[in-house]
C-alpha cells in the first residue's frame, strides 16, 4: 500500500504540473518496429485533470486500506486483494494517459477485469458473484461498442494514435452519428448513466470498501473521461441532438439516481445510487457545453465544461469520503443496514463528523465543495437559455428545475443517511458497542474532509486550475476573470452571477456568534429523558429510515411502483394484533422492463444458434469451406 500512496502522490504532482503549465507531457513506452505499433503515453491537460482526481482520492484510499484490509478482508485473500488494488490504480492511470487505441483498450480491459475480480472478493456469497458477473457482461458489451467505434475511426484515419483519430474531421454525416451512439453506449456503461446503470448498485457495494470508494469516486470518471475525450471533443463540433441526448440522460440519471438512493437501507447501496445521481449532474453539464458548442457560444461552453469537470473532482472527493465513512461504520458494526445503526456519533465521533461533512457537501450546501459545481451547472443551464435560439432552449430551465429537485432530494437523502445512522439511540447491540476506527482509517477521511471544506470555501482556486484544461479543448473560450483571483467564481457574459463563499462564511460565523451570545446567559442545562408519549423511549419507537423516506415514496409512486403488504397476526380480536409484519419493496423498473426482455432475447438467440453448433466436425468443416468461398468471391469479385 505504501507504494500506491507514493505512486498517487507522484501522479498528483505530475498532474498538477501539467494542469499548471498547460503543456502536455508525452513519451513512448514501447515501440514494436515490425508492426509499427507504438504504445505511448500522453498527459494532456484533460487527462491530467482526471489523473489529479485519481491521485487526490487514490492516496487517502490507499492509506485507508492499510487499516481496513487487515480487519475486513480474509487473511488468505489479502495478497490478492492488495495486489489487485494497486494494479487497478495503475490501470486507471493507464486509461487516462493512453495516447492511442492499443494502450487505451489494454488499460481499459485490465481495469475492467481487475474491478470484476475485486467485486468478487467475497465470492462465497452468491450476490457478490452475481454482481461481478453482471458487471463483467455489461462492461464487455460496452467495450465491444468501443472496439467497434475505435477500429472504424482508426481505419478512416489510418492511424491508431488518438491525436490523429480524434482530430474531429475524420467522419461526417450519419456515420458520425452512429459512431457517437457507439461511444456513448460504450463509455456510458462505465460511467453508470441511466439506463446503463444496472450493474453499478450491485457491483459497487459488493467490493471491499476501499475498492467501492475507488469505483464510485474514480472509476466512473473513466467513463466520463471517454465521454469528454471522444463524444464531446473527439468527433468534431457536436450536433444539437447529441447535446439533447446528453442533457436528457443526465437529468434522468440525476433524478432517478437520487430517488432510488432515498429508499435504500443498505448504506453502500445508497451511496452507489447517489453516484448515479452525481454522474447525471456531470453529464448534464457536459450536455450543456455540447449545446453551446453546437450553437457556437464559446464562452458559455467553457462555463459548462468547467461545471462538469469541477463536479468530477468534487464528487470524487466527497463520495470517496462518504464511502470510507461507510466502510468504517460497517467494520465497527458488522452490518451495512442503516436500520441497525443509530447513535454512532457517540461511539465514533470522528467518523461521524467526517461523514457529516461529506453528507453536507453532497447535499450541495454552501461552504462545502458540492455547492460550487452545482452552482456552475446552474449558471451553464441559465446562460444556455439566454444564448440558445428557438424552442430548444425551454429544455434549459426545465433541466434547471430538475437539478434543483435533485439537490433538494439529495439533502433529504443525506439527512436520512446521517441522522438515522449517527444520532439518537443505537438500534442494535452491535451499534451500541461500536468502536472508533484506527487512525490509519481516520486520517484519510480527515484529508478528504479538509479538501471538501477548502474547495468549498475557495472554489476559485479550482477554477483557476481548470483554466489550462479549458484552454486545451477545442472550441472553448474561457473568460479570464472567471475565478475572481481565487476567491470565488463569476459566470461572466456581462455580470450574470458570481459567488464568494468565504464571504458568506464570515457572515455565518458572525451570526453564529450572535446566536451564542443570545443564549449564553441563563441557568445550567438540565438533562432530561426524551418524552416517549408516556411509554418508554426505546430504539423501537424511533423513526426508521424506511419511515423517513415513506412520504417521498408515496409521492413518487409512479417511479417506484411500490408493493407492500401488511400482515397482522391477531389472537383474540383483530383490533389487538399480537404482531404486525410489514414488507415493502419497490419495483426494479429497468431490470424488469428493459434488461429482462433483453436477456430473454439473447438467450433465445443463443438457443437458436445451437442448431449451428451441433458438435459435428463435418458440419464445422463445411462452414469453414463455405466461408472461404464467400470471402473469395467477395474480395476477388470487383477486381
Amino acid at each position: 500500500m505504501g507504494g500506491s500512496i507514493l505512486a498517487s502522490v507522484v501522479t498528483v504532482t505530475v498532474a498538477l504540473f501539467v494542469v499548471a503549465s498547460g503543456q502536455p507531457v508525452d513519451g513512448v513506452l514501447l515501440r514494436h518496429a515490425a508492426s509499427g505499433i507504438v504504445l505511448g503515453y500522453s498527459v494532456t491537460p484533460l487527462s491530467a485533470w482526471f489523473l489529479m482526481v485519481l491521485g487526490l482520492v487514490g492516496a487517502p484510499v490507499a492509506l485507508y486500506s492499510v487499516g481496513y484490509f487487515g480487519h475486513a478482508v480474509k487473511a488468505s485473500r489479502m495478497a490478492a486483494v492488495g495486489t489487485a488494488f494497486n494494479l487497478l490504480l495503475g490501470a486507471v492511470e493507464g486509461v487516462f494517459v493512453a495516447d492511442g487505441v492499443m494502450s487505451f483498450l489494454f488499460a481499459w480491459e485490465v481495469m475492467t477485469l481487475l474491478t470484476a475480480a475485486l467485486v468478487a472478493t467475497e465470492h462465497e456469497f452468491p450476490t457478490s458473484r452475481r454482481a461481478a458477473y453482471f458487471y463483467l457482461v455489461m462492461s464487455h458489451v460496452g467495450t465491444g461498442c468501443l472496439v467497434a467505434g475505435f477500429l472504424f475511426l482508426a481505419a478512416e484515419a489510418g492511424s491508431l494514435s488518438f491525436p490523429a483519430m480524434l482530430a474531429g474531421d475524420i467522419v461526417s454525416g450519419p456515420t458520425r452519428d452512429a459512431l457517437f451512439a457507439l461511444f456513448f453506449l460504450g463509455f456510458g456503461v462505465k460511467a453508470g448513466v441511466i439506463p446503463l446503470h444496472v450493474w453499478l448498485p450491485e457491483a459497487h457495494p459488493a467490493a471491499p470498501t476501499s475498492v467501492s470508494a475507488l469505483m464510485s469516486a474514480v472509476l466512473v470518471t473513466a467513463g466520463i473521461y471517454g465521454l469528454f475525450r471522444v463524444c464531446a471533443f473527439g468527433l468534431g463540433v457536436p450536433d444539437v441532438n447529441w447535446a439533447l441526448a446528453f442533457m436528457a440522460v443526465g437529468t434522468l440519471s440525476a433524478i432517478l439516481g437520487v430517488l432510488y438512493a432515498l429508499t435504500q437501507t443498505d448504506l453502500k447501496r445508497l451511496l452507489a445510487y447517489s453516484t448515479i445521481e452525481n454522474v447525471g449532474i456531470i453529464v448534464l453539464g457536459l450536455g450543456a457545453s455540447m449545446m453551446a458548442l453546437a450553437n457556437g457560444s464559446r464562452e458559455l461552453a467553457a462555463v459548462a465544461v468547467a461545471a462538469s469537470l469541477m463536479h468530477v473532482l468534487n464528487h470524487a472527493i466527497f463520495k470517496g469520503l462518504l464511502f470510507l465513512g461507510a466502510g468504517s461504520v460497517a467494520m465497527a458494526t458488522g452490518t451495512r443496514e442503516i436500520e441497525r445503526f443509530g447513535g454512532l456519533l457517540r461511539r465514533m465521533p470522528w467518523t461521524g463528523l467526517f461523514f457529516l461533512i461529506g453528507a453536507m457537501a453532497i447535499s450541495g450546501l454552501p461552504l462545502l465543495n458540492g455547492f460550487p459545481s452545482e452552482w456552475l451547472t446552474f449558471q451553464a443551464l441559465l446562460l444556455g437559455f439566454t444564448s440558445t435560439p428557438g424552442m430548444v432552449r425551454l429544455n434549459f430551465p426545465l433541466a434547471g428545475a430538475m437539478l434543483a429537485l435533485t439537490s433538494a432530494l439529495a439533502a433529504a437523502c443525506f439527512v436520512r443517511a446521517f441522522g438515522i445512522s449517527f444520532v439518537a439511540l443505537p438500534r442494535s447491540q452491535s451499534a451500541a458497542e461500536a468502536k472508533e476506527s484506527p487512525w490509519a482509517m481516520l486520517v484519510p477521511q480527515a484529508l478528504l474532509a479538509t479538501l471538501c471544506l477548502s474547495f468549498g470555501l475557495f472554489p476559485g482556486v479550482v477554477l483557476e486550475a481548470l483554466g489550462s484544461v479549458m484552454g486545451s479543448l477545442p472550441g472553448l473560450e474561457p473568460r479570464e476573470d472567471m475565478a475572481l483571483s481565487g476567491w470565488g467564481m463569476a459566470s461572466g457574459l456581462g455580470r450574470f452571477d458570481h459567488v464568494v463563499p468565504s464571504m458568506l462564511g464570515v457572515a455565518l460565523l458572525g451570526s453564529l456568534a450572535a446566536a451564542w451570545f443570545l443564549t449564553k446567559r441563563g441557568a445550567r442545562t438540565r438533562r432530561v429523558p426524551t418524552w416517549g408519549c408516556g411509554g418508554e423511549l426505546t430504539p423501537r419507537t424511533e423513526y426508521t429510515a424506511t419511515a423517513f423516506s415513506k412520504p417521498l415514496m408515496m409521492i413518487f409512486r409512479a417511479v417506484y411502483r411500490p408493493t407492500q403488504e401488511v400482515e397482522a397476526l391477531a389472537e383474540v380480536s383483530p383490533y389487538f394484533p399480537r404482531e404486525v409484519r410489514y414488507r415493502a419493496e419497490i419495483e426494479p423498473t429497468f431490470e424488469r422492463y428493459v434488461y429482462a426482455p433483453l436477456a430473454r432475447a439473447v438467450l433465445r438467440l443463443a438457443n437458436g444458434m445451437k442448431v449451428l453448433q451441433a458438435g459435428s466436425l463435418h458440419a464445422y468443416l463445411a462452414y469453414v469451406l463455405v466461408l472461404a468461398v464467400i470471402l473469395l468471391m467477395w474480395l476477388g469479385g470487383p477486381t
Binding site: P397, L405, V500, P501, V528, T530, P539
Partner: protein, 315 residues
C-alpha cells in the same frame, strides 16, 4: 477593496439587526389580522417579543440522548437565516453582501439551515422529530424546483441572478407590467406559503401530532434553543416576503443612502410587507389545511405557473 468589504459587512450588520428586530412583529401582525377576521381581538402587538424574551430567559432543557448536533441545529438554522438576510436588498437597492452571491447562494444558505435543523430533530430519538424532519425535507424538496423556476423567470428577465442587479433593473424600468409577472408572482406566493409553513400546507398554531410538520420537527426544543428556532422562522418569513417585494414591486427603494430616501424606502417597504401579510392571512383564513399528500398537487400548480411565466415571457 478592504474598505469596501468592511463597509459591506457593516451594512450587513445593520440590515440583519434591523430585520431581526422587526421579524417578531410580523408574526404577531399576521396573528392579529387573523384574529380580526375571526372577530377576535388577538394578541398585543409586542407579544412576539415577550415570547422570545421569556424563552431566552428560561433554563435550557435538553434530552439525555442528544449529542452536539442537537445544540448545533438551532444555532446553524438561526445563523443561516440571519446570513441569508444580508443577501437580500431591503431598503437600499443593493444587498449588503451582494459581492457574496445571488439567488442561488440565498437558496443554498436557507437549505443549510434546514439541513441542520432536520438532522438535529432526529437527535433526541423521539418519533416526532423524525416525523417532522421527514415531512419538512419532503415538502422542501418538492418546493425547491418551483422556487428555482420562479426565481429563474425573474432572473432571466433581468439578465442576472444577482438580486441587486435585478432590483436595480426593475427600478430603472419604472412601473411596468408584463402578464408573466402575475403568473410568476402567484407561483412564488404559493412557494412562500409552503416554505414558511402556513396553512394550507402546514399549521403554525397546531401541536396535534398527526398534522404538524415544522412544529413536530422542533417539538423537543425548549428555552433559549426554542427561542432561536422561533426567531429564525419569523426572520425567514419576513425574508421571503421581502424577496417577493424585491422581485415584483421594488418601487420606492432607496438608490442612495440619503436619510430622506431611506425613510421613504422604509415606509414603502413596511407598507408592502403589510399588504403581503394581509394576503397571507386571507390565504390562511379561507383555506383548510391540506393533507400531506395533497401538497404535491399545490406545489405542482406553482411549478406550472412558473413555467408558464417563463414561456410567455420568452417565446
Amino acid at each position: 477593496m478592504i474598505q469596501d468589504t468592511l463597509l459591506a459587512f457593516g451594512a450587513a450588520l445593520l440590515q440583519a439587526g434591523g430585520m431581526l428586530a422587526v421579524a417578531p412583529l410580523l408574526k404577531t401582525v399576521i396573528k392579529k389580522l387573523k384574529a380580526r377576521l375571526q372577530n377576535r381581538k388577538g394578541p398585543p402587538l409586542l407579544q412576539g417579543y415577550y415570547d422570545l424574551l421569556k424563552l431566552l430567559r428560561k433554563e435550557p432543557v435538553r434530552s439525555e440522548t442528544a449529542s452536539f448536533i442537537y445544540v448545533a441545529g438551532p444555532r446553524v438554522y438561526f445563523a443561516a437565516a440571519v446570513a441569508a438576510t444580508t443577501l437580500v436588498p431591503v431598503l437600499v437597492a443593493a444587498a449588503p453582501l451582494e459581492a457574496a452571491g445571488g439567488i442561488l447562494l440565498l437558496v443554498g444558505t436557507l437549505a443549510l439551515g434546514r439541513f441542520a435543523l432536520a438532522t438535529a430533530a432526529l437527535d433526541t430519538g423521539s418519533p416526532f422529530g423524525g416525523m417532522g424532519a421527514s415531512r419538512d425535507m419532503t415538502i422542501a424538496a418538492l418546493a425547491e424546483p418551483a422556487l428555482m423556476l420562479g426565481l429563474f423567470a425573474s432572473a432571466l428577465a433581468a439578465g442576472s441572478l444577482s438580486l441587486g442587479v435585478m432590483v436595480r433593473g426593475l427600478l430603472q424600468q419604472g412601473l411596468s407590467f408584463h402578464p408573466s409577472d402575475l403568473l410568476a408572482f402567484a407561483g412564488l406566493f404559493i412557494i412562500v406559503i409552503t416554505e414558511t409553513g402556513r396553512i394550507p400546507v402546514d399549521n403554525p398554531a397546531t401541536h396535534l401530532e398527526l398534522t404538524m410538520i415544522h412544529e413536530a420537527m422542533v417539538l423537543e426544543y425548549a428555552g433559549p434553543d426554542l427561542a432561536l428556532v422561533e426567531w429564525a422562522s419569523a426572520l425567514k418569513e419576513l425574508l421571503y416576503l421581502t424577496l417577493l417585494v424585491d422581485l415584483f414591486l421594488p418601487a420606492g427603494m432607496a438608490t442612495s443612502v440619503a436619510p430622506l430616501a431611506l425613510l421613504v424606502a422604509l415606509l414603502a417597504w413596511a407598507g408592502k410587507i403589510f399588504v403581503l401579510a394581509i394576503f397571507v392571512t386571507v390565504a390562511e383564513s379561507t383555506n383548510a389545511k391540506l393533507r400531506l399528500f395533497r401538497v404535491p398537487e399545490l406545489v405542482s400548480v406553482s411549478l406550472g405557473l412558473a413555467f408558464l411565466a417563463l414561456a410567455i415571457r420568452f417565446l
